[in-house]
C-alpha cells in the first residue's frame, strides 16, 4: 500500500478474482434446477421417398413439433439450442442419427412452441436401408449458460416407421 499504483493494482486483481469466484458459484447454482421438459412430434405426411442415383435413400416429411422447454431456463441461461434427430439402427451401423430440424431459443418466453414444418435438413441414409425402417424421433437440447457449464439432455419419442415402398 505504498503508493497509489500499488493500491490500484491490489484492488483490481482482487476484484477480478472475486468476479471469477462469483461466476463459478453462479454456474454451480444451475445444478439446483430440476427441469421437467415435455415434447411431442407428429409426422403428418411423407412428401416423397426415393432412392437417389448415388445409391442412398432419401425421405422428406412434414411434421408438427411441439415442446415445452421453459423449465430449462435459469438466471444463468443465455440460450437453449434444440434439435430433432431421427435415430435408427441398420445392419451396418448400430446407431444412425440424422438431424432434421434445429433452432435457438433465446428466452424463456419462446421456450413453449408448436411448429409445423418440413424437415429443415435432408434425411439421407448411408445406403438404402430406409424402407419399412422403425425410427425414433429424439429431441436434443443444449442449455448454454451465461457463464460456466453447459447441460445437454434429450427426450426419445418412439413409434415411427417409414413406408414399405418408395413414393
Amino acid at each position: 500500500m505504498h503508493s497509489f499504483g500499488y493500491r490500484a493494482n491490489a484492488l483490481l486483481t482482487f476484484a477480478i478474482t472475486i468476479l471469477a469466484v462469483m461466476c463459478a458459484i453462479a454456474s454451480f447454482s444451475d445444478n439446483f434446477n430440476s427441469p421437467s421438459p415435455t415434447s411431442q412430434v407428429q409426422v403428418l405426411n411423407i412428401n416423397w421417398f426415393r432412392n437417389k442415383p448415388d445409391g442412398d435413400d432419401e425421405v422428406s416429411m412434414t411434421m408438427n413439433i411441439s415442446a415445452d422447454l421453459q423449465s430449462l431456463f435459469t438466471w444463468n441461461t443465455k440460450q437453449v439450442f434444440v434439435f430433432l434427430a431421427a435415430e435408427y439402427k441398420t445392419r451396418k451401423n448400430s446407431l444412425n442419427q440424422v438431424s432434421l430440424w434445429d433452432g435457438i431459443i433465446p428466452a424463456k418466453e419462446h421456450a413453449k412452441f408448436y411448429i409445423h414444418t418440413t424437415n429443415k435438413y435432408r434425411f439421407v441414409d448411408q445406403g438404402s436401408n430406409l424402407r419399412e425402417r422403425d425410427f425414433n424421433m429424439t429431441l436434443h437440447w443444449h442449455v448454454m449458460p451465461k457463464t460456466g457449464k453447459m447441460f445437454a439432455d434429450k427426450i426419445v419419442m418412439t413409434g415411427f416407421r417409414l413406408p414399405q415402398a418408395y413414393r
Binding site: V21, A26, W75
Partner: protein
C-alpha cells in the same frame, strides 16, 4: 498515508469488495437476473475505488513523527575521513 492508514485502506478494500460481491450475488439470484448481479458488483468496485485508492485525510490520522529540523542541527552528521583510492575509469574507444 501513514502505516495505520495503509492497513485500514487495505482491509476496507477487501471487506467492501466481498460485501458487494455477496450482496450482488444474492440479489441477482433471487431476482433472477444475472445482469443485476454484475451491475451491483460493478457499482461496488467503483465505490471501493473511490474510497480506498485516493489519499484521503482520514487515512492520515496517525502521522509519522519526522525528526524536527532544529534537532538535526544539534547533532551534525559525522565527516567521512578515510582515503579511498579512486579507480581510473577504463577508456573505451
Amino acid at each position: 498515508m501513514d502505516w495505520e492508514g495503509q492497513k485500514v485502506a487495505e482491509q476496507l478494500m477487501q471487506i467492501m469488495l466481498v460485501v458487494f460481491a455477496i450482496g450482488g450475488f444474492i440479489t441477482g439470484y433471487f431476482m433472477g437476473s444475472f445482469q443485476l448481479m454484475l451491475f451491483i458488483y460493478a457499482g461496488g468496485v467503483v465505490l471501493t475505488t473511490l474510497i480506498t485508492i485516493p489519499n484521503w485525510p482520514f487515512f492520515n490520522r496517525h502521522p509519522l513523527q519526522w525528526l524536527d529540523p532544529s534537532e538535526i542541527e544539534k547533532h551534525p552528521k559525522p565527516q567521512v575521513t578515510s582515503s579511498i583510492s579512486k579507480k581510473q575509469p577504463s577508456k573505451k574507444k
